[in-house]
């Protein structure tokens, strides 16, 4: 799925003051790419990712997903697109505290009306892939940070989305489990998923073949490693 942003703007208003979180952002991302998004706090990284994930609407500009103008879609159609094509991983995990690991992973499939048997099969597969199958019946508060993020990751990929958006997925993890989660995410990219990852960690950010730096709501730097570009 190709992603295309043209002159996308987003302003937030807080009382008297306003912040231009995205300021005429132009960005084209091809299917299967792996981008890291870096930049100082408040530069608009999360806003960009939310926009791409159809979690928010831009004030102006064009956002096309495989040539579909997402601004023309109704909220229900956007929900359907999120359900079909997009996986999200948040820094704060956002697991439903009352649901077990397996129930959390099955949540997107339940919302999509997928049958019980299929849900069970796919969630088992995802848990196995992420090495948390023995945590299926644990509640989020019985899991470590790394395990929680794996559950969140399993939930994000269980429906095999085309795009995975990760907003500081390792931000709450120690460096060891951070690297582990990173490797799992990168492995998904090798399987063909488009990957956008926001990170504060320069070492982790440097692993991506394409690296974007945000500054004051604009894309300040967009660096693509040549050999990777050639190989794709």
């Amino acid at each position: 799925m190709m992603i295309e942003l043209r002159d996308v703007c987003k302003t937030f208003y807080l009382g008297e003051s306003s912040v231009q979180a995205l300021n005429h952002v132009n960005l084209t991302i091809n299917a299967g790419e792996y981008l890291s998004v870096m930049g100082p706090s408040g530069s608009g990284k999360s806003t960009l990712l939310n926009m791409l994930g159809l979690l928010d609407r831009p004030d102006s500009g064009y956002y096309g997903l495989s040539d579909t103008d997402t601004n023309q879609l109704t909220d229900n159609q956007r929900a359907a697109m999120r359900s079909e094509y997009i996986g999200f991983v948040f820094q704060a995990y956002h697991l439903v505290p009352r649901l077990t690991a397996r129930e959390n992973i099955e949540l997107p499939m339940m919302l999509a009306g997928i049958s019980n048997g299929e849900r069970h099969r796919l969630s088992s597969q995802a848990m196995q892939r992420l090495g948390i199958e023995d945590r299926a019946h644990h509640l989020p508060n019985q899991l470590s940070g790394g395990q929680r993020q794996r559950v969140a990751l399993a939930r994000a990929i269980v429906r095999r989305p085309s795009i995975l958006l990760a907003d500081e997925p390792t931000g709450n993890l120690d460096s060891h489990s951070g690297i582990e989660v990173m490797e799992l995410i990168e492995e998904l990219n090798r399987d063909g998923i488009t990957l956008l990852m926001v990170t504060h960690d320069a070492v982790l950010g440097a692993r991506a073949p394409r690296r974007i730096k945000m500054l004051d709501g604009t894309v300040d730097e967009d660096i693509i490693d040549r050999e990777v570009e050639l190989s794709t």
Binding site: L55, D56, N76, H94, L99, E103, L111
Partner: protein, 404 residues
């Protein structure tokens, strides 16, 4: 589209696993509904109780009491000029002279020690005539009424209340047994059923003897009250007037009695009825308000927690409609269960209250129950479902960030 089974399961889990939250909502709603049910039952019970106090006085019964009630608020009689007694002879003459009078029940009331074998008990003694039983619509548990063909003559027949019977005689058959009341001896001919109480008299704890015997027993020349029933077809107010005329004539031209008609009696208490009815309505209103605020607060506490979850569900691909269905079902379940529990516990409390205090007919008026349930359902749904609906219409990221 979430399928129905999943929807039910999801809500059920939300209710069960957020036990504290669910219990708070349930409690708020149940307390609200129960308080309306109980408080209005108290108010209505008090109202019915006061009403019932007068119900025994049929529409065709007049009460005659000795002494002139000064409606002008004059000075009480000066020393030695106590109101002249109303005697049994007066009663007899009144009955003879007025053909509009059907039955007469003069009353002499006192208390005395009644004994049987070695057992004795202080009870209320009521001297009256056989007419008393029908005028007060009393029922007999066993035996028959006393006979007082000429009420100026002694009779040794008596009726006893159920409590007196139980405590003095136990399980043996009462009819025919002779009791002693001081020097006076009487023979039980019947036992009164129930309490038959009104105006502070509990007849289950009383013994009824002939009025002439009571006059001797208490050594009193005058009677306490005279109940008069008017023959059908006569105007009660003109009979009242005639009674005053005849009594004035019998008492050498002095008007020294008071006659009370049921209308006059009820009119006196009219204000009280209005106050009591308004009181019930006010109580219901206040408890509904309290219930509403209670429910509202508990629901609002949950909003931020719910909003975050709604944002997440939407981020995971749920549509606004999906989210609304999920939360509507949860609201309906908790609110309905809360309302049911509240109604049931209120009803139980009212029932227990009726058992404990049988003379007050505690009962929730149907309109109060209906309004309580309607208000609970409405506030519950409005304050649980409306925020959920609003959150479902936000952009997912806005809902997700709401808890911060």
């Amino acid at each position: 589209m979430v399928n129905i089974a999943d929807q039910v399961f999801f809500c059920w889990q939300a209710i069960l696993r957020h036990r504290f939250r669910s219990i708070m909502v349930l409690l708020a709603i149940s307390i609200g509904v129960a308080s309306v049910v109980v408080l209005t039952a108290l108010g209505e019970g008090a109202r019915q109780y006061v009403l019932g106090e007068f119900a025994f006085l049929g529409k065709d019964i007049l009460v005659v009491l000795p002494g002139k009630k000064e409606t002008t608020g004059g000075l009480p009689p000066i020393m030695g000029e106590a109101p002249r007694d109303l005697t049994l002879d007066d009663t007899h003459n009144l009955g003879r002279r007025l053909s509009s009078i059907d039955q007469l029940a003069p009353l002499i009331v006192g208390s005395a020690e009644v004994s049987y074998d070695a057992r004795a008990r202080e009870v209320m003694v009521l001297g009256t005539t056989e007419a008393f039983v029908s005028l007060r619509s009393l029922r007999l548990a066993s035996g028959r009424n006393i006979k007082t063909d000429d009420f100026r003559r002694d009779s040794n027949e008596c009726l006893i209340g159920e409590t007196v019977k139980d405590e003095l005689l136990g399980s043996i058959s009462a009819t025919g047994i002779k009791l002693r009341i001081g020097d006076y001896r009487c023979r039980i001919v019947g036992v009164l059923a129930g309490r038959g109480d009104a105006m502070g008299m509990n007849l289950s704890d009383a013994i009824i003897i002939s009025v002439a015997s009571a006059e001797k027993l208490f050594d009193t020349p005058g009677i306490f009250r005279l109940l008069v029933s008017v023959k059908p077809g006569f105007d009660i107010d003109s009979v009242k007037q005639r009674i005053i005329e005849v009594m004035t004539d019998l008492h050498q031209g002095e008007e020294d009695i008071t006659v009370i008609s049921p209308d006059a009696m009820l009119a006196t208490f009219d204000d009280i009825f209005v106050v009591l009815t308004l009181g019930v309505a006010a109580i219901a209103g206040i408890s509904l308000l309290v219930a509403g605020v209670l429910i509202m607060n508990v629901m609002l506490i949950n909003v931020s927690q719910r909003t975050e979850e709604i944002g997440l569900l939407k981020a995971l691909g749920a549509s606004a409609d999906d989210v609304q269905r999920l939360f509507l079902l949860e609201s309906i379940i908790t609110v309905a269960v809360g309302t049911g529990v509240g109604w049931l516990s209120g009803w139980l409390l009212v029932t227990v209250g009726r058992e404990l205090i049988p003379n007050v007919p505690f009962q929730t008026p149907p309109w109060a129950t209906l309004i309580a349930i309607a208000v609970a359902l409405l506030t519950g749904l409005v304050f649980s479902w409306l925020p959920a609906k609003r959150a479902s219409e936000l952009q997912p990221v806005t809902a997700l960030q709401k808890h911060k």
